[in-house]
């Protein structure tokens, strides 16, 4: 009995000595670790009996419970601050991880490490939307240089269209995917589905490769544009598939293949839609309006040129 008491008491003293020697460790740790240490330090001062140690253990347990109950509610600012708890190096590392997908290398486990952030998805989507609108306008400028009869206009409405479509894709499709995976949760036992934020992160970071692709689409060579598009789509879809495969492979083969093919198809539709809407290839020789979705602005662009041709006659 006495030897057991002495053993536990010595451990206690050692721990508090460690704490006293390394005050820096105490200050940089999270707040939920700080409270039990604080309780330990106070208990030492009041005496060193076995009963006091019991009290300390109870207090530290209660403190841990209280800390867990004090998770900030969704109406507080610090709740959202927890989603932006990333450093520059971490964001760059996640972007690199999305650019180079490897088959066994799960993006969520290796790069996110269960700490998803909202910074990456939000600003990658914003960048992509503005880059789409800007480069789409730039192709019109370059087309006009080749053929001065094409009417140039800033086309500001494309910024709105780009923004809405990119943000809807990057936030609604993960919502649908997350909902579907949770619905099928009963079938999978080994690996739980990703949280909503992790799904948003997967999609957000996978959109990063489209930014250099869109910039490279400025080169007005059609087969090169399709090549870049295919490359970027392949990289991005591969990243998505490799990340979703561990979650989906527990399911039946039919559901797995259908889900993955729907994901890849939606991604391909996004890339194609961007190419066709923002980069309508105006033929350099003639001024005939291309039969695209946006035939209306081409008609309006055409009408100012008609009075000019009629005026001399």
């Amino acid at each position: 009995m006495a030897s057991a008491d002495e053993l536990t008491f010595h451990e206690f003293e050692e721990a508090t000595n460690l704490l006293a020697d390394t005050p820096d460790a105490a200050t940089t740790s999270r707040s939920d670790q700080l409270t039990p240490q604080g309780h330990v330090a106070v208990a030492v001062g009041s005496g060193g009996s076995y009963g006091a140690e019991d009290e300390v253990e109870e207090e530290s347990d209660k403190a841990a419970e209280q800390q867990q109950q004090q998770q900030p509610g969704f109406w507080t600012f610090s709740y959202y601050q927890s989603f932006f708890d990333v450093d520059t190096s971490q964001v760059l590392d996640r972007i690199k991880g999305s650019l180079l997908p490897r088959p066994g290398h799960n993006f969520v486990r290796h790069h996110l490490r269960n700490r998803p952030d909202l910074y990456g998805p939000f600003w990658i989507c914003a960048t992509l939307a503005f880059v789409l609108a800007v480069t789409g306008n730039l192709t019109l400028v370059l087309a006009q240089r080749r053929d001065p009869s094409i009417h140039y206009s800033p086309q500001f409405h494309k910024v709105t269209v780009a923004g809405i479509s990119i943000y809807c894709y990057a936030w609604l499709v993960p919502l649908a995917l997350w909902g579907f995976l949770r619905w099928r949760k009963g079938v999978q036992e080994r690996m739980g589905p990703y949280t909503f934020l992790e799904t948003v992160c997967i999609y957000g970071y996978s959109l990063f490769v489209f930014i250099p692709m869109v910039v490279l689409w400025l080169i007005p060579v059609p087969w090169l544009q399709w090549l870049f598009g295919a490359l970027a789509l392949g990289l991005s879809a591969a990243g998505l598939v490799f990340t979703l495969w561990p979650v989906v492979r527990e399911d039946t083969r039919l559901v797995a293949t259908v889900l993955l093919s729907v994901v890849v198809l939606l991604h391909a539709l996004l890339a194609m839609g961007c190419k066709l809407y923002f980069f309508q290839s105006l033929p350099p020789e003639n001024v005939a309006p291309p039969p695209q979705i946006t035939s209306l602005p081409s008609n309006i662009a055409l009408s100012p040129t008609l009075p000019q041709s009629l005026a001399p006659s």
Partner: protein
């Protein structure tokens, strides 16, 4: 010596003497025990806060002063901040005395100059007044929220103030572009406008970074500065692609 051991044991005593005796026990100087601050040296006198009377004077004077004085004071404050933006130094004036008059004047000027004519087509063309306004203000609010969520220690309105004032170089670029566009269009025209917009864009970035970068921890500075870059890039793009009809 004995007094030092007694002191933790009797928390209920009201006399100030144990504090003094503890000091004498640890330092070993006998002279300290003779000084008992609360008993021997009476504290008397008057406490006046000179600032209070000055503030009261200030209040009554702004109420009675002429309208011209009030407007000139605000205009001078705005002008002083313009100077701080044009010659960015590490000073706290923009942050300490923030105001949103300057950003409002700049935003309205920019939006008035950038808006397309009503005769222009509805679908294809430059931004409307409201679109410029929304981009500037919602962009600034988003960047401020982003900066605060990343853990920066700058207040909401200070950040809005800095971002708004740093649009000044781009507004100057817009004025120059409009003047240059009065000349005949051509590649030289475009080159001049491109050069002016690039220089003013770099100036805006440098000015705003000088004020905002210090508020972030160093491992997140790039994360906070990148949205500012994107914001001024979009505004520069709108200025560069402006074509009068």
């Amino acid at each position: 010596m004995a007094e030092a051991e007694e002191s933790p044991g009797d928390p209920g005593t009201a006399s100030p003497r144990p504090l003094v005796s503890l000091g004498s026990a640890t330092k070993g100087t006998e002279g300290l025990s003779d000084i008992s601050i609360s008993q021997d040296i009476p504290v008397e006198g008057e406490i006046t806060i000179p600032m209070r009377s000055r503030i009261r004077e200030f209040d009554s004077s702004t109420l009675n002063e002429s309208v011209r004085n009030t407007i000139m004071r605000d205009l001078k404050a705005v002008g002083k901040k313009f100077m701080h933006v044009l010659y960015p130094r590490k000073s706290n004036t923009l942050l300490r005395d923030w105001d949103l008059w300057g950003p409002l004047i700049l935003c309205v000027t920019l939006a008035l100059m950038l808006q397309r004519d009503s005769a222009d087509s509805e679908k294809d063309g430059g931004p409307q007044f409201a679109e410029v306004f929304v981009i500037v203000w919602f962009g600034a609010v988003t960047i401020t929220l982003n900066s605060k969520l990343l853990g920066g220690n700058i207040s909401f309105f200070q950040s809005l103030c800095v971002l708004g004032y740093c649009i000044l170089p781009l507004t100057v670029a817009m004025l120059i572009c409009r003047l240059v566009l009065l000349a005949d269009p051509g590649p030289v025209n475009f080159m001049v406008r491109l050069f002016v917009v690039i220089v003013m864009f770099a100036w805006s970035i440098v000015a705003s970074t000088a004020f905002l970068a210090d508020s972030q921890p160093p491992n997140r500075r790039a994360l906070a500065v990148y949205p500012v870059f994107l914001f001024y890039f979009v505004i520069s793009w709108m200025i560069l692609t402006f074509t009068p009809q």
